[in-house]
Point group: C2
Chain length 239, copies 2
């Protein structure tokens, strides 16, 4: 009883030609992605790719002082496991489920078979890798030059794109860890956004009230990265 492409929410898989998807389907295993699960641990071999169906995954870089910084975010527009695609079973980048959801697992040892079964898959995955690289690159500049409030807005928009509704299950504390700043700084920045009527929040839940207003308040980084996702993955592939 095989997986139906029509019910797949992952954009990469949804874009595959129907026949290729059918050939690929036997390798795909539906899995839950509970919050805080680590899909890619810096010190352990990566055993599988994950095509995200729901929720979103943070790519983190841990520092020696114990802090860590988000270098990218992946939702149903993408997958976790670019190192495998690029020929290594390790990476110092950590991938952690930030918003619980589900995904389709493709075991690493089947990747070559899967690529044979679906010739379009390689191109899609490589394009996604490039889009992700662009996102990470933009983050370098963003972290260097843009103030906390804009970075926060940028993050909220990216998370909103990858979520199901207008609610984001994040505390100020979690956001602070994600953006690599103090919790108090988030409280101040989020307070300003709430006062401006762009968002509302209460105990661990942030609600997007004015999407257009947020887009206007974000730094360029949001739209630049979005445009690149669209260019590489098409309007349907982009979030």
């Amino acid at each position: 009883m095989s997986l139906e492409q029509s019910v797949v929410r992952n954009h990469l898989l949804a874009m595959l030609p129907a026949q290729e998807f059918q050939a690929l389907a036997p390798y795909l295993v539906p899995v839950d992605l509970p919050a805080r699960q680590i899909l890619q641990h810096p010190s352990e071999p990566i055993r599988a790719l994950y095509f995200v169906e729901d929720g979103w995954i943070s790519l983190l870089m841990a520092l020696q002082d114990g802090s860590s910084v988000d270098i990218g975010i992946v939702g149903r527009e993408g997958m976790i496991g670019t190192p495998i695609l690029l020929g290594s079973d390790r990476s110092i980048v950590e991938a952690m489920v930030q918003r619980a959801g589900s995904g389709l697992r493709l075991d690493a040892q089947h990747l070559q078979d899967a690529l044979r079964a679906s010739p379009s898959l390689r191109q899609l995955l490589m394009h996604f890798s490039l889009a992700l690289m662009t996102q990470v690159g933009q983050m370098v500049a963003c972290n260097r030059r843009h103030p906390i409030e804009q970075r926060l807005v940028c993050w909220l928009l990216m998370a909103h794109d990858r979520g199901d509704g207008d609610d984001l299950p994040m505390t100020h504390e979690a956001l602070a860890a994600t953006l690599g700043v103090r919790r108090a700084s988030i409280s101040v920045a989020a307070g300003a956004l709430q006062k401006a009527g762009l968002i509302r929040y209460a105990s661990g839940r942030i609600t997007i009230l004015d999407r257009a207003g947020l887009e206007a308040a974000a730094c360029e980084c949001y739209s630049v990265v979005c445009a690149e996702y669209r260019r590489l993955l098409g309007n349907d592939g982009a979030v």
Copy 2:
């Protein structure tokens, strides 16, 4: 009369099996890389890959305020043109020659032929792309958390690794643009390093005096990224 592998200084090409290199050689065109030449322009199609032989190339992300930030640096351990490898002839990342040198050009339309001629090449290029991705990711965290002086040291070490001697032809102004900070901040940071006897500088030239001392003064980012280059490209591939 073909290119001799023994005289090639690019580490990726040097690591190829001799036979594969011979098959690839006809596609490689020696080129000069004058300072400030742009190998990859955000708004133009990328027509070629460049295997760096000498000098180094900055990967830049330009921002709307007119500033730009270095997201990575490539020397003879690598190549310019990962977007082509990953299936796109465009990228919003700019590649500019920062220290003049030379390279071997592989025209984009020959890449597929080249990959057929040298099966090892794809794996090497993908490993390099992953190493570069790691470097960029670490830069995100570094820019977020580490002070200017450490970032400067980090950059000096990376440039030193990729250069020929202990002299780096960079003004404070150029360094400021590279690191995305004020020129005065560089003068202060560099002044401290000079006072500590780690470097010496004069009008557009920085000399590395105490390599070990610099390594001790750098943030973790330098060694983390180095280790990843070594892991992925081997001791000979790493800078």
